[in-house]
Symmetry: C2
Subunit: 587 residues, 2 copies
């Protein structure tokens, strides 16, 4: 989490640099700060809260040749101005911004001569550089040998104010150049409008930028780097007239799903998986965190039930500590991550690889760390997702998994017209009764404990619907497998408790409805999301799609919209719910 | 769910029969009713709520030779007097009590001539018997061929008021005789003080009792039945001076764990598992519902991490619908159920058997349906558990799993002194700081969203602790794997949100504490349950046990006590939380 931006060049208004930082707000918005060079002095502005708060602090007319900026998601230390980046050493020799966690910072701190006001691990690094009297890139690299953990760092030395010192390990860092102007950022997204290509850092790379250009280092030696081409599917980051990105992204689902199919067709994404592909595996493990874990559950369900292959889904952060790990060469690991930077998922990929398993990344970001470290990539084509709560990325993940699994099914004699299926889903994706959802949003907005239930595929939808509502409305909703309700959880039900029931599978829906009836007879108010026509449909959100798998993709969309409507009715900004950041790049 | 009692004999006061019904209150307490023969007429008393409400209705001096009684957990139809049992047919020919679900009752109802006031499936059966003009056991049995579903039924015919008609399929039914008095019940527990032995019904058995005695039928023909011996570990059902059974059962944990070890030793329970036992299996699947599912997770964790055997835990109600099922002869299924009557777990056992897998029951009730239908039994020796929320049964389940797995480990060269380990756990089980737990109970009693987190084994404890609090205090607590917190759920945290963190594993505790720090920096109030000594221990519940597996057994006990204290501070009866029943005998 946290986003960093650096600039070195001829001259830019600080507003431009802060504008770039805003592209990274999805990485955290607990506090923000910028240090700009003004009359050969670094001047620092910091503020708690969103970047727009910082903007108010910085004067309009600040033109600069060198700047570093940061938007924070707090890990160590509360969200205060003192803990905001950039951090300077006590003597002011070094000022830096940092994304990551220096795991041995307490140990390093103990060995410092001076005390540090900030509680952060990052301030320790600045002070360490000063106490070692670091003044060159060689000394800079030498000092970093003491650091354990993850970091991308952009640092400025007081004595060399028109130079940037860069270090990268585990956290992302990129740099683009345009006519002598250098822009450093945590995400190439910042390079839209700046450059068509950019440099990527590998772990343990360093770099130094001055008026002569950029020099890269690895293992203490200068290296040459080629450039990567900027992804041309990057869209503009404006909210396109929508009140919020979350709404924009829900409304983009038809377009995103269409793009998902188009990309698969044009790039023949699935052709690399031929008849012998699955013969190599006895088992498939899907791994993810949060919403991506729900997509993983969907993938495992399809593989197990439709392809008859042993398959399971694991929460990445649990899986990586469940030693001894059963990863072996007869296993395929499918790693799902919107950003491709999720720390726990990256670790799971590493463990899978070390066990000899084949790895496949399903990610929205093709230049991500995850995509670089897996044997196969299936691109998710949602396009950039700015709102913290995932919407179109989730439905695109499900669609990509659906097409991938259906392709494998067809190789084995199946006959699934999966492109047509997803195009149909795209067409239907906003066809639900929006007014009814708005009415329900209004009914539940002050509730404290709505319950979401379902079985099998519908249980996955229940989990994701509940998470969505929690994320953006702060309502403490819960989700249960329908059959578990009477094993304790039913005690929560009282007069009027909202109960959302998902029913897409005609053969097992009766069981969920039985569970729901038990709750209704204890006062619950049922809302039914189903693809089965109901006589009394006042509290029914009907999804016109027979196929239970594709219905699963469609059923979550009204729930995303519900969460959005509840969020704004409560005066919350759904794009930036409290305490969260979009990509979880620390464990 | 639901409990039924029938009596036919020389004469008893209705209070005695209601007293027996009270032994079955763990099976449901939405409403209760009794029909007693008075001057050759069946007189019916019914009341909504607990059996004590019914008692107030029934006059003191009702002596009877025939009675049927029922305590209800509502499945079809709300908890009203009309829906309470016994149910009579419209013409009064048949009166009956029923436990189970007649799945085709709507279809049967449509074909009836008369309409029925009650919404229940049970009333349909009474009316059906009347409309078919059933007057003999042969006609009774013939009529039951039309029923699909589960039932244990005790019925009385108006024209033969001193006879009982009995039918059993899937729901439990037992009968004991003492000097010409017959007592029928859903659980042999009712026979304590009545008889030392009793008859068991198999599925599709019928019986008829009159002054000549009892006659059993199977497949339309008379059969002879042997008797089963009443379990002599049955204790008295008094609360032994404790205010509530839940508190009594928590305080019994040392004794129950001691008994668990003693029984294993005396009966050499583990000796049947020899060195070649595990060689038959590639994989172990643990299955359970609710609290028993948490025990299943513990079992799977131990097998996977300590025995290096592929193992997973499944929610029974999800597993049975996850077709195609991967049960085969190289798999061992361990089915965990306190009552041994949990419908979904029984179904899972059936599916496992049909796939050729070996099955093992881990249950508190050795005469239960589950124990009868598995290849192996490991007895849980908690003794009868009356409070709905499981406490001592859970710790005994964990202990039984611990000893079983440790025994297998020792066969493979391990050296675990598991008897000593559990005896030590027994000794320490109430050694936590009760006053501190009471203080914390007081602090959180009005909270609406406490959060429980942990990783790996500690995540299981978090799940069970959260469930316990929900069950008896109706507080909408939630539980997350520590690593998932920042993937959305952290949005729930605000100033003062209680966060219970479980840390028993020194190697991974840092990760949970990191997650907790992120929550604390957003306002959460941390309560730490740990076996690692802390400097500032104001909000720490310290568990003095190094071994992380046995510490897991100990860590839940203060949380059971916490749930109990919160429950009573809110004026709730923790023994009978709303909406629940102890044994979930319907899907």
């Amino acid at each position: 989490m946290c986003g960093i931006v650096g600039y070195l060049g001829k001259k830019k208004n600080s507003k431009v640099i802060i504008g770039k930082l805003k592209n990274l707000e999805y990485r955290g918005y607990d506090s923000a700060g910028i240090a700009v060079l003004k009359d050969d002095e670094l001047v620092c502005y910091k503020q708690v809260g969103c970047i727009s708060e910082l903007e108010k602090e910085v004067p309009d007319n600040v033109e600069t040749t060198c700047a570093i900026a940061h938007t924070r998601w707090a890990t160590h230390g509360k969200s205060t101005v003192v803990n905001a980046h950039p951090h300077s050493s006590n003597g002011g020799l070094w000022t830096l911004v940092h994304n990551g966690i220096v795991e041995n910072y307490l140990e390093l701190k103990q060995n410092l001569k001076q005390t540090i006001a900030s509680e952060t691990d990052s301030a320790v690094v600045a002070e360490l550089l000063e106490e070692k009297n670091v003044n060159s890139i060689e000394e800079f690299m030498e000092t970093f040998k003491q650091l354990v953990g993850s970091y991308s760092i952009v640092a400025v030395n007081k004595n060399k104010p028109n130079e940037l010192f860069l270090a990268k390990n585990k956290s992302p860092l990129y740099v683009a150049e345009n006519d002598g102007d250098y822009l450093v950022a945590s995400d190439p997204i910042c390079f839209v409008g700046v450059s068509k290509d950019y440099y990527e850092f590998n772990d343990n790379d360093f770099a130094h930028i001055d008026s002569n250009g950029i020099t890269f280092y690895a293992n203490g030696k200068e290296i040459k780097k080629g450039k990567a081409v900027l992804d041309d599917t990057f869209e503009s980051f404006s909210n396109a007239g929508f009140e919020h990105f979350m709404l924009k992204e829900i409304c983009e689902e038809p377009e995103a799903l269409n793009r998902q199919v188009r990309f698969f067709k044009e790039h023949q994404v699935l052709d690399k998986f031929q008849k012998d592909f699955m013969k190599k595996f006895d088992e498939v493990v899907f791994v993810g965190c949060g919403t991506a874990y729900h997509a993983a559950l969907f993938g495992a369900n399809y593989f197990r039930k439709q392809l008859n292959i042993k398959a399971s889904a694991e929460i990445a952060s649990e899986f990586i500590y469940s030693k001894p790990i059963f990863a072996n060469e007869r296993m395929l690991f499918v790693l799902v991550s919107q950003s491709g930077e999720t720390a726990d998922t990256l670790m799971a990929a590493k463990i899978a690889r070390e066990g000899g398993a084949t790895t496949l990344a399903l990610t929205n970001v093709l230049y991500s760390s995850l995509a670089k470290r897996t044997d196969y990539i299936i691109p998710v084509c949602a396009g950039p997702e700015i709102a913290v709560a995932s919407t179109k990325a989730y439905t695109c993940q499900l669609s990509a998994l659906y097409m991938f699994a259906s392709h494998l099914k067809n190789l084995d004699g199946g006959n699934v017209d999966y492109f047509a299926d997803i195009l149909r889903v795209a067409e239907k994706s906003l066809a639900f009764d929006m007014q009814k959802v708005e009415r329900i949003a209004n009914e539940i907005k002050d509730e404290t404990k709505p319950i979401f239930i379902g079985k099998d595929l519908d249980y996955i939808t229940a989990m994701e619907a509940s998470l969505k509502l929690k994320e953006v409305s702060y309502i403490n909703s819960t989700n249960y497998s329908s059959g578990e309700l009477k094993h304790g959880f039913l005690a929560l039900v009282e007069e009027g408790t909202p109960l959302f029931v998902f029913c897409s599978q005609s053969d097992i829906c009766g069981k969920s409805l039985n569970a729901s009836h038990e709750a209704i007879s204890r006062g619950a108010r049922q809302y039914l999301v189903t693809n089965i026509k109901q006589e009394n449909d006042e509290d029914v959100i009907y999804i016109d799609e027979e196929n239970e798998l594709t219905a699963s993709i469609l059923m979550i969309i009204p729930m995303q919209y519900l969460a959005y409507k509840v969020s704004i009715s409560k005066g919350i900004n759904p794009d930036k719910p409290r305490n969260l950041a979009k990509s979880v790049t620390v464990e």
